[in-house]
């Protein structure tokens, strides 16, 4: 890819005593990408994110931010990182303005530019009206926004967000997702989440991590491909013989369901058109025809719940 690589993670390992939380994870993040990090609880998402942001030292592996090694030269590397942990790191006793001023200075923004940076961050996160309020008195959604404002105040190259929409109401979730997409245009973004539609709504790349290993990595477009229908549900008033259905061009396999319905599997070329013609000609009384889409949830469950094949697949690879 010709795009500028912002984050490069190479063969990252992290052990907690005997437990291996992150096991040989490698990936790149380019400018303009929003990378969705999926995985069940305890899969190693947060550990990976903590390592990228310098909150946790890796047991082995390399992390570089814009070509700067995070472990060798942490200060210049960390300038290019904004991090929102699961719990927003806010001081409840400060006001939003005080807190953001502090964050701006902490991120070494020049004294003269601090006020401007704070104003921009507040505006982007919709905090303009609450600047003088104590963070402790704000709702969870607003605290989350303060957390995001803190992560983007120094316009870092990479923004790492750990479950940014947890505990928000649906309207706030929409706003935050819009904000993430907007930020994604000029920053590289890594976000972790449990909510699968969120990935489809905001990310242009997806990685699924399970038991510390990357088990799936693809672009959202590639994912869409995988999600495309590979089966049809058809309902007939006068169900035909399965063998007759099998003869329709493109049909791989037929699976009988109750109530005269069948599931028709196909691999290349949707047989719907041929099926309708055949059904009309043979008076089967076709009254239902629905393409079945696989959901991200199914892929997720396939990858994370069927442990043996995944593990075997990884070892083979």
């Amino acid at each position: 890819m010709s795009k500028e690589v912002l984050v490069r993670v190479e063969q990252l390992y992290r052990y907690y005593s005997q437990t291996c939380a992150v096991d040989n994870v490698s990936f790149d993040l380019a400018k303009g990408e929003v990378l969705g990090f999926l995985g069940p609880n305890g899969a190693g998402k947060t550990s990976t994110m903590q390592m990228i942001t310098g909150n946790l030292a890796p047991s082995a592996g390399r992390i570089s931010i814009q070509g700067i090694d995070l472990l060798d030269r942490p200060k210049p590397a960390k300038r290019e990182i904004g991090y929102l942990p699961e719990q927003p790191p806010v001081y409840r006793e400060l006001t939003v303005d005080e807190y953001l001023h502090y964050c701006a200075k902490l991120n070494r923004i020049a004294r003269s530019a601090v006020a401007g940076a704070v104003a921009t961050a507040k505006e982007r996160c919709g905090l303009t009206d609450v600047g003088a309020r104590l963070i402790g008195n704000l709702s969870k959604g607003y605290q989350q926004r303060v957390g995001i404002a803190q992560a983007i105040i120094h316009t870092p190259a990479v923004v790492v967000l750990d479950e940014p929409t947890v505990g928000l109401d649906p309207i706030q979730i929409r706003e935050i997702r819009a904000l993430i997409r907007e930020l994604g245009a000029e920053h590289g973004i890594i976000l972790s989440t449990h909510i699968l539609p969120e990935v489809q709504a905001t990310c242009n790349r997806v990685q699924i991590i399970h038991k510390g290993r990357l088990v799936f990595a693809d672009t959202t477009a590639g994912l869409e491909q995988r999600l495309n229908a590979t089966s049809l549900i058809a309902g007939f008033s006068r169900p035909p013989d399965p063998a007759a259905l099998q003869q329709v061009t493109g049909v791989d396999r037929v699976e009988a369901l109750e109530g005269g319905r069948v599931r028709i599997h196909f691999s290349d070329g949707n047989p719907a058109e041929a099926l309708v013609e055949r059904a009309a000609a043979s008076h089967w009384g076709l009254h239902e025809l629905t393409p079945e889409r696989r959901t991200l949830e199914q892929i997720f469950i396939d990858l994370t719940c069927t442990e043996a094949p995944v593990a075997a697949g990884m070892e083979a690879a």
Partner: protein, 250 residues
């Protein structure tokens, strides 16, 4: 960067009622001690006037006041330092510092200076009492300065120990009790074997009190100053190491 962290630390201290309560209570007790020493001095004055080279106000009022103040501050220090790092860890705000472009040393020094600034305010308020005597009597400013230096060094050492204890734990109360225990131990450590006439062993050297007393008498010795500076450097250094280790293991 260090000062940014220090300023926030000090600000947060004063945004909680704790700092104000500590200042008010200690000031009240200091004032009580001060007035009772003044009273003792007034009682003694007729007899002192007859003596050649009699002890002055600095010896009779200020030295005991500072000696008692140090013990009161030994009790108060753990309350001030207990939250410094443990609270950041508890409320997960520490990751803000970890992901910012600041080194561990800067974080620790910032925190330390913030706490130290609070103690300097406290000492400043205490100093107002002896200084008020200038209006009515002659004061040995040299002795007062030595006493103030001693007080500052003692408190700076207390703060460094408290900071380290706070770096060790996530529970502020645990930090407080361990700080208190260690401070008290260092204060009284020379009691062992103190029945011997000559007590110049290791334990005596380790005792904070032993290095404080000469300064109160107006005796400035580089050994005493070095002792406090070593304690400060040791515990600040250990805190940096502890914070660094935090990223390595969980």
């Amino acid at each position: 960067m260090i000062f940014t962290i220090a300023a926030r630390e000090l600000r947060s201290l004063f945004l909680s009622p704790l700092a104000w309560a500590i200042l008010a209570v200690t000031q009240f007790i200091f004032a009580y001690l001060f007035l009772s020493q003044i009273e003792a001095y007034i009682d003694l004055q007729p007899r002192l006037a007859a003596l050649e080279g009699a002890p002055g106000v600095a010896d009779i009022v200020i030295a005991p006041l500072f000696a008692d103040a140090a013990i009161i501050l030994l009790l108060v220090t753990p309350l001030v330092t207990m939250r410094v790092l443990s609270e950041e860890r508890r409320s997960r705000t520490i990751s803000l510092l970890f992901s910012a472009p600041v080194s561990m040393t800067e974080i620790i020094l910032g925190k330390y200076l913030g706490v130290l600034a609070f103690f300097l305010i406290l000492i400043g308020m205490l100093m107002l009492m002896p200084l008020s005597l200038i209006a009515g009597t002659e004061l040995d400013l040299g002795k007062l300065a030595a006493g103030m230096l001693g007080m500052t060094l003692v408190l700076a050492a207390f703060a460094a120990i408290g900071l380290y204890m706070s770096a060790l734990t996530e529970q502020p109360t645990v930090a407080a009790i361990t700080t208190f225990g260690l401070l008290l131990l260092l204060w009284i450590i020379d009691w062992a074997g103190s029945n011997r006439l000559e007590n110049t062993g290791v334990l005596a050297y380790l005792s904070m009190l032993r290095h404080y007393e000469p300064l109160l008498k107006g005796l400035f010795s580089s050994v005493d100053v070095a002792y406090y500076l070593l304690v400060i450097a040791l515990f600040v250094g250990l805190s940096v190491r502890r914070l660094d280790a935090e990223r390595l293991q969980h």
